[in-house]
Symmetry: C2
Subunit: 208 residues, 2 copies
Amino acid sequence: MMKLPGKTVERLSEYRRTLLECLNEKRNFIFSHDLAARLHITAVQVRRDLMLIGYSSVLRKGYDVRELIDTIGKIIDSEESMNVAVIGIGNLGRAVAGYFKGKRSKLNLVASFDNDPQKVNRVISGVKCYPYTDIERMIKELDIRIAILTVPPDFAREITEEAVRFGIKGILNFTTIPLNVPSGVYLEEYDMITSIEKVAYFVKENKI
Amino acid sequence: MMKLPGKTVERLSEYRRTLLECLNEKRNFIFSHDLAARLHITAVQVRRDLMLIGYSSVLRKGYDVRELIDTIGKIIDSEESMNVAVIGIGNLGRAVAGYFKGKRSKLNLVASFDNDPQKVNRVISGVKCYPYTDIERMIKELDIRIAILTVPPDFAREITEEAVRFGIKGILNFTTIPLNVPSGVYLEEYDMITSIEKVAYFVKENKI
DNA sequence: TGATTATTGTTAAATTATTAACATTGGTTT
DNA sequence: AAACCAATGTTAATAATTTAACAATAATCA
Ligand SMILES: NC(=O)c1ccc[n+]([C@@H]2O[C@H](COP(=O)([O-])OP(=O)(O)OC[C@H]3O[C@@H](n4cnc5c(N)ncnc54)[C@H](O)[C@@H]3O)[C@@H](O)[C@H]2O)c1
Ligand SMILES: NC(=O)c1ccc[n+]([C@@H]2O[C@H](COP(=O)([O-])OP(=O)(O)OC[C@H]3O[C@@H](n4cnc5c(N)ncnc54)[C@H](O)[C@@H]3O)[C@@H](O)[C@H]2O)c1
């Protein structure tokens, strides 16, 4: 399977989430335009994405929900589950940890790291917090591949550099500092302020 | 000024954040490639974006940091400041509120709403929490335009429908439910799980 | 001063992403 | 069974976004 466009990967994740909702509703088949409507995109887009992963519908009943969930899993999940850690278990870190814990079977949140003595060696939001000084050892011991970065901006660069050196292969950066990673490490950044400013801009423009 | 592409608006917000950092460092001028490097994009992209907003550099010293900050503000900020509320002041809501409070001069977080009796009528993460039942009155009284939605997924649709009816013009949706809004209302959605799954996918692919 | 260099703004080209078009498939209806 | 229909997979067209190319400008230097 050739590497998929990032946008398609994002949508596959969304398809799966939506399909899981379908299962809850005891819906076993779904048409492309139905799935599309739930996500407010076009049916063509759905069909095109599914074409890229080589999934075909059955009969004229639409896509087999369960089967498609599995197929998407085969594409976007890793074979064995992948371990994730939150670095900086402050306000945002706790929210993410609490939310994430136990959500995805193939992605396990196995640790958090912090340097606040009040926090280390406790279970916070369902996940054990280790002292940051142990990060090298724990990354190796727990085979952590992905880090969610929620430390104060000033520490983001240094911590990233270290985490990568110790074996982290993917970073989701919620700090406001753009990071540098060597090739071979995948970086995804999200800046809330940017999102809100974007909303504000289009609200303003609509008014005119 | 014609309506700018969403991507450009996002970057303008990022440029401004970076330029504010420059001011802190007492840097008063910056070259396009410098600004680009800090954000890990290309200099051409910076120049093209600035072209779109009609900003020109001075001399061969690069862009005047202070001036560019102002220019970007004129483009993406609204004339008078715009009021924002968080709906659902749980884990994520509190993180966002605490982070956002007092960050942007033109965007004021003026209220939060919740239906938990333990939370209403208290100041939480620096912002007053009102009972959800007062939302109609408060949106009007405080002239709230933008809502950040951090309620449990099951309530997202209904709350959105009401908020829009009461005058909300922009929504930043952090719930996992895709929302429907009428035209004239701007919607931005962000799904953390999707981001993490995307990271996991590319980590997996890199390995191969 | 005149050549050189660095940096810009802008047009054009390339790339990426989305949407449209349409022939195909197999069920449904008359 | 013939005509019709709904939905699909795929190719082609369109639109959006990014990158490249390059002439223009002014500072620097020999
Ligand atoms: N709260 C939000 O909604 C929000 C939104 C967007 C971005 N952010 C960004 O996310 C980051 C965290 O935000 P927050 O509100 O959770 O802040 P916070 O201060 O509540 O949390 C930061 C945590 O990092 C820990 N920490 C500090 N230095 C550390 C170090 N050197 N090593 C390990 N841990 C360390 C602190 O002890 C704390 O627990 C910030 O960079 C912020 O800009 C937050
Ligand atoms: N925590 C995260 O990092 C995270 C990440 C991604 C998405 N989300 C989404 O964000 C939302 C909130 O997550 P959370 O972790 O903060 O959950 P939470 O349960 O901590 O917070 C939800 C808040 O909404 C309030 N609420 C419930 N029903 C309400 C109603 N009808 N009207 C007004 N307020 C109501 C609750 O009292 C609570 O304070 C969820 O939809 C979740 O899927 C959270």
